[in-house]
């Protein structure tokens, strides 16, 4: 119970920072101050909170869980590609969004799109698609919170209660603290989980008697040796993952975060230090996830390994229900916690549990972004502020925070899916496919609102198609051949593999993004007469 007590202490600190400490720094009580911290964040808070906003349950729990099952490839799939793509996007697009937001008062990406393409309802369509794609991201945090609390309390706090507690804590400081509270909490959380890696690695290395022995154990077994290379992964699959980090800049919460910096110069440190932060968090998470496979003296991890072995050996002969049970038993989402419990002293395990919780709770900025989008893109756009005043606008945002948190919690209870799969299949791929929207708005004079609409509708349709396909066609057991869904001649175009749906061997994110860009170009050219006025274009170019 000590780790659970430390985590509850951590909740108290976070609530204090988010609700009270950040309020002292507030200078105004208007919408811009609540939703954007008055565009006044300093360089350190901007870097750490922006980075924290990008790190979710996915980064520590999902990464180590994925590495537990798939090996070192996890780092190359997400961390190193993100370390390049995300800062480059911030450099080229984030800075321009900041300047436009500062100059024209934009508070959300949709406000900018509406102005840029002189459109109204098309902006509403973009809002709906963005909001629907962001909800899974919030759900991830609830699932992560439930998993961590259930794990550190030894099952005393059940999953449903853990998820509810985490939701309540996040909702409270977002409700009261707005963007400033969220940014301050994110900064604190980022510092906590940046220090997690080094502490966890040294504690576990000591507990395991050094990692060299663990490596020898892994290399000695034919089932675990492939985890130390990428031989199980195709080059096309590996390449596909470089498209996923594109999603970051298209996520509304990151776009909105770009507007909170006090000065453009604050982006400099963020761009340069972002890869270092990625390294500090992901390398230990992935490495420890892999090393867990050698932790055969930790009974809970041994149970997972056995479930995975049964699934691999007898998967095709088992009933779908049994397969689903074994998948759940083999899931590595809490493996890092089990490792820490098994090898670190109790007091250290408690602190590390709190650090993991810090990563899990980084959904606050998504909740706030959805609230900002709802009030600015719907309430304000459809005359709400004019009729009811700015105070009601902020109240509306706060009520939306409560409603959204409750909806995300209910979805989390009904969606027992792996954190990693949930994130990759829906939110990330969809947002990557929305990037052409941002690129066209910022850099291409010839783009039109019809091109933007085509891109948005395509993204929504493609995400829905992949989701339906994955629901209708069950995944083959790990190691089994992919199921062909669409083929031309002897060439499989669409297949359903254990890792998900593949298009010509690539993850759906690749064709989704490329078709999205193509649609923007083709439809904009076909509707050249709908180009915005010279006056509007002069604001952007």
């Amino acid at each position: 119970m000590i780790p659970a007590a430390v985590i509850f202490g951590y909740f108290a600190v976070v609530l204090y920072i988010g609700i009270f400490a950040s309020r002292r720094a507030a200078r105004r009580s208007d919408a811009e101050d609540y939703f954007l911290a008055g565009r006044s964040l300093g360089p350190a808070v901007f870097l750490l909170s922006l980075f924290g906003a990008n790190m979710t349950a996915f980064s520590i729990l999902g990464a180590s869980g994925h590495a537990f099952a798939n090996g070192i490839v996890t780092y190359g799939l997400m961390a190193s590609s993100s370390a390049l793509v995300i800062p480059v996007c911030l450099f080229f697009m984030g800075t321009k969004m900041w300047a436009l937001g500062k100059r024209h008062g934009f508070m959300t990406p949709v406000q900018m799109f509406r102005d840029r393409w002189e459109c109204g309802h098309i902006g509403t369509v973009i809002f709906v698609v963005q909001a629907l794609l962001l909800i899974p991201y919030v759900v991830i945090a609830v699932i992560g919170g439930g998993t961590v609390l259930a794990s550190v309390s030894g099952g005393l706090v059940p999953f449903w209660l853990g998820g509810a507690i985490v939701s309540m804590v996040v909702m409270s400081y977002v409700f009261f603290g707005g963007m400033r509270g969220t940014a301050w909490v994110n900064t604190f959380q980022t510092i906590l989980f940046l220090s997690f890696g080094a502490i966890a690695v040294s504690a576990i290395a000591t507990g395991m008697g050094g990692f060299s022995r663990a490596m020898d154990t892994l290399l000695a077994s034919p089932s675990t040796a492939p985890l130390l290379s990428r031989e199980r992964v195709s080059a096309a699959y590996f390449f596909s993952y470089t498209f996923i980090p594109l999603s970051s800049i298209a996520f509304p919460h990151i776009g909105i975060f770009c507007l909170t910096a006090k000065r453009l110069a604050h982006f400099r440190k963020t761009v340069v230090l972002y890869p270092i932060c990625m390294l500090a968090i992901w390398l230990p998470s992935v490495f420890l996830g892999v090393v867990s496979n050698a932790a055969t003296d930790v009974p809970t991890i041994q149970t997972k390994i056995e479930a995975r072995a049964t699934l691999a050996a007898e998967g095709s002969t088992l009933s779908p229900e049994r397969r689903s049970q074994l998948r759940a038993a083999a899931s590595g989402d809490d493996v890092i916690l089990k490792l820490v419990e098994g090898y670190a002293p109790l007091w250290l395990a408690s602190i590390l549990g709190a650090a993991v919780m810090a990563a899990v709770m980084a959904s606050d900025s998504q909740i706030l972004a959805l609230s900002t989008m709802f009030t600015e893109d719907v309430f304000v756009y459809y005359e709400g502020t004019r009729r009811f005043g700015e105070a009601v606008q902020v109240h509306t945002g706060r009520i939306f925070v409560i409603v959204l948190t409750c909806v995300a919690y209910l979805i989390a209870l009904l969606a027992p899916q792996s954190i990693f799969d949930l994130a990759t299949q829906y939110a990330f791929a969809g947002y990557s496919a929305l990037v052409p929207l941002l690129v066209a708005a910022l850099f291409w004079k010839g783009s039109t609102r019809w091109g933007a609409l085509a891109t948005t509708v395509w993204t929504a349709a493609a995400v829905a198609a992949v989701a339906v396909l994955q629901a209708v066609v069950p995944a083959p057991p790990a190691g089994a051949a992919a199921v062909s869904i669409l083929s031309v001649g002897s060439v499989d175009i669409v297949t359903r593999a254990a890792v998900g749906t593949l298009v010509l061997g690539f993850l759906p994110v690749v064709p989704m993004t490329l078709v999205s860009a193509l649609l923007m170009v083709v439809v904009s050219r076909l509707t050249a007469s709908a180009r915005p006025s010279h006056k509007t274009l002069s604001k952007y170019f």
């Binding site: 070192i72 490839v73 780092y75 190359g76 961390a79 190193s80 590609s81 370390a83 390049l84 800062p87 480059v88 450099f91 800075t95 321009k96 900041w98 300047a99 436009l100 500062k102 100059r103 050094g210 990692f211 060299s212 663990a214 490596m215 290399l219 040796a225 130390l228 290379s229 990428r230 031989e231 080059a235 590996f238 390449f239 470089t242 000065r263 453009l264 110069a265 400099r268 761009v271 340069v272 230090l273 972002y274 890869p275 270092i276 990625m278 390294l279 390398l283 992935v286 490495f287």
Partner: protein
């Protein structure tokens, strides 16, 4: 530095991410425990930071700050 060269630098970095040369290798184990494939990707992350530092140094869009305050 010419912008075109910087674009090439970023593209080269992007290509270097696909390190097919260490695809099936585990050894050498760097520091006795880090598989070479993982070590390469970690070193790649550090190299990314250096390239971004150069990019910021050479091509920082300071004109955007002036435009924002206009």
């Amino acid at each position: 530095m010419a912008p075109a060269l910087s674009v090439v630098l970023v593209l080269v970095l992007y290509v270097l991410h696909q390190d097919f040369w260490f695809w099936r290798d585990v050894r050498p184990l760097v520091f006795g425990f880090l598989p070479i494939g993982l070590f390469y990707q970690a070193a790649y992350t550090l190299a990314t930071s250096v390239v971004l530092w150069l990019l910021v140094r050479w091509h920082w869009p300071s004109h955007l700050e002036d435009r924002a305050h206009q």
